[in-house]
Symmetry: C2
Subunit: 434 residues, 2 copies
């Protein structure tokens, strides 16, 4: 793969596909109709079946080992193999699928067995999540939320030194398309003397980048920032559903708990570092007066190209909009350049005290808002704490989500002279509370 | 099992054993010398090998199914079977091992293969931890710690309504005997303008009860408090190692992270609800003026006997004490009656918003300090924030832990006319930072 790779595929739908051209090749776990879950690669409107391919002996050497590790119902073993195996598989996949490939005839003969239409397949969580950690590296989000509570001093003193994060709930990380139920919980509305109990009334989404961990480290060891890239398996979209009213009452002194653990939705496709390589960017310059990162968070290569230029958007589709045949409505358009800390800094920080990371661990970036309202990645921000409703194309208004609303995250990378790459969708419908 | 069960075992070491008489029968995972990990039951100085027993056909019906589920290298499948299978196994085990058992001759003939000496076996983590949640239900600890920060108002307003908890790190939960390394991290000592980076200087233990989850619930469902007992597999001791200086700097606004995720030690034996039944107690009366629990946290049976009367202690053994041949020194003696919320309340609260619990999930109670200094379950409390050092029998002083210190937790239940039951030890040596 090079920065000027414009190769086309003999799979026609891949060429000009908004998400999955030959240059992307994200991995996931899917079930072709009537069969068991296995690893696959999105290419155009189809999914390349890694199990069928491995059984047919389409790969050799390290790539064969990689494909073999992805034949089961999760990619954990594939993630654990590391970057070299992943690159070997990618290189052989691109050779197999590129226009002019000598394998084209043989692969075409295998038909739907090798390349079922994605629309006929079910997608699953790509890996069994060991631990899930949610960071808070979107500085505009931290500013916006902090301002609601502390207008004069929105950012806490540790923010520019510490890549703030907390442990989330792994058991309720679910794949795009899984409905999420509005939680019951305690809330303390202003003026109340005792808490209420009932369905959350301030149900929100959060627009985040997800990071899948590859090779891990032993307990008591750490991962140097210069090695961090070797420990990242890939990227996805992540919606960190949040019950703001539950959060406000429960979160002192130990952080969010029930406000966040009822569901976290991720997109099914794992976009690799190789696919994102052309869209790397320098870490945005820190505003004048901001401190330098401490040495364990500072790496020249990471400063030079540790960030990503990925456009992220969040859309909503309400039941009324669905009835009226309206398309999902964009609520925000943001970008991963709004991250104050890079993914490598997150990995280095997480492990610096000896915390063990494992293949299949998941990080969330935290909400990636931009500085302007049209780039705010949560309703808490977009509606200024629920005070300024948003009007939708259906004429409906929203301060927070209502039952039946579907939240959709999308992301794409675009650059002149290079095929556009997308993440696929991260969708979830909000069900009424029990 | 009845409340007046005084049966003796034909295994002599079980009778009068401080931890493991016939009335306890805790489960764990162990490797007899030279073989693979499998489930076992502590009885006196021996371990009853469930795999060898199951292979020999010693159990029937539901108990056989239970033993079969405990033959692998983790008890997750056994936990998932639930209370009925656990009770069936316990009943048949007690019949096999009681004095006068018709099976005695046959079992004795199987010798060390069935009942290896515990001293020849290695103990492992009893289950693969899915998610680990640490609560904060020790009200005296919450008071003591709160007082260090807010002398006039130590408890936050939510404490008496919400069983406060947060998500911890599952990957670094380790079994007793695993050394834990002092973490590196950022700290902001008073008077500093920028943070330091280096080994934590305020390394502490926390004396906690651990709770292993049995049968789980689906995402979006909840567990009613009246059903909570059906979802608990058993109990252990838990040391929530804590880097106080890291915690103070990082924990706002999302809670503890690196300060806690470098290691959490649990005792290897899972003490069952059946073994603890005689030591149940009414939930201690709330002080006058405290609110009633909200309805989802209120259950008559739980109020009547949802608490436990378990004595807990924490001891330290320093390298100098070891050299001088001194015994571990008790730093605190506390009791699970210091819990403001019961375990059933913790389960009901954790799941009330639809969070999925799974077999092998682990809860910590939070530090269980008593109201008096001799019952303080952390050094942060015992030394009043590091201001009043403790003097050890070796003449050494401690404010926080030093490299090479070993922390030992123990617990026991005692009642007139009933054999004493213990938890075994939860030990960990603190290694120097890398």
């Amino acid at each position: 793969m090079t920065q000027t790779d414009n190769r086309r595929s003999w799979i026609a739908s891949a060429n000009g596909h908004p998400d999955f051209p030959l240059q992307n090749l994200p991995l996931g776990v899917f079930s072709p109709a009537g069969t068991s879950p296995r690893g696959g690669v999105a290419i155009g409107d189809a999914i390349f079946d890694l199990k069928v391919a491995a059984d047919a002996g389409l790969f050799s050497g390290e790539a064969a080992e990689a494909a073999q590790s992805a034949c089961g119902d999760s990619l954990n073993a594939f993630f654990a193999l590391g970057a070299s195996a992943r690159r070997a598989l990618r290189a052989q996949l691109q050779d197999l699928l590129a226009e002019g490939s000598s394998a084209q005839e043989r692969l075409e003969a295998m038909g739907q067995a090798l390349l079922p239409a994605a629309s006929t397949c079910q997608l699953h969580l790509p890996a069994k999540v060991g631990d899930y950690t949610d960071f808070y590296v979107g500085i505009h989000h931290a500013n916006n939320v902090g301002r609601l509570f502390r207008p004069d001093n929105p950012l806490l003193p540790n923010y520019k030194y510490v890549p703030i994060g907390y442990h989330g709930r792994a058991s309720t990380v679910c794949v795009s398309g899984t409905p999420v139920r509005r939680p019951l919980g305690q809330t303390m509305p202003p003026g109340n003397e005792v808490p209420n109990f009932g369905p959350s009334k301030r149900l929100d989404y959060e627009l985040e980048l997800g990071i899948w961990i590859g090779q891990g480290n032993e307990m008591g060891e750490s991962i140097a920032i210069s090695d961090a890239q070797q420990h990242i398996a890939g990227y996805c979209l992540l919606n960190d559903w949040s019950a703001r009213d539950v959060q406000a009452w429960e979160y002192q002194p130990l952080g969010p708990f029930l406000a966040k653990n009822f569901g976290t939705t991720v997109s099914p496709w794992v976009v690799t570092a190789e696919a994102l390589e052309p869209f790397r960017a320098a870490q945005p310059a820190r505003p004048e007066g901001d401190p330098q990162p401490l040495p364990y968070l500072l790496d020249e290569a990471d400063q030079a190209k540790g960030a990503f230029d990925i456009e992220l958007e969040v859309l909503v589709l309400t039941p009324a909009m669905r009835e009226q045949g309206l398309a999902p409505h964009r609520l925000a358009l943001s970008n991963t350049l709004n991250m104050y800390w890079t993914v490598a800094q997150m990995v280095a920080h997480h492990s610096v005290g000896g915390c063990k990371l494992q293949a299949g661990d998941l990080f969330g970036s935290g909400t990636l808002s931009g500085p302007e309202p049209q780039a705010f990645g949560s309703l808490l921000e977009s509606t200024f704490g629920g005070k300024q409703p948003i009007t939708l194309p259906s004429g409906e208004q929203r301060t927070f989500l209502e039952d039946g609303d579907e939240v959709i995250l999308r992301a794409r990378c675009q650059r002149d002279g290079y095929p556009r790459i997308g993440f696929g969708e991260c969708r979830g419908v909000l069900l009424a509370a029990r």
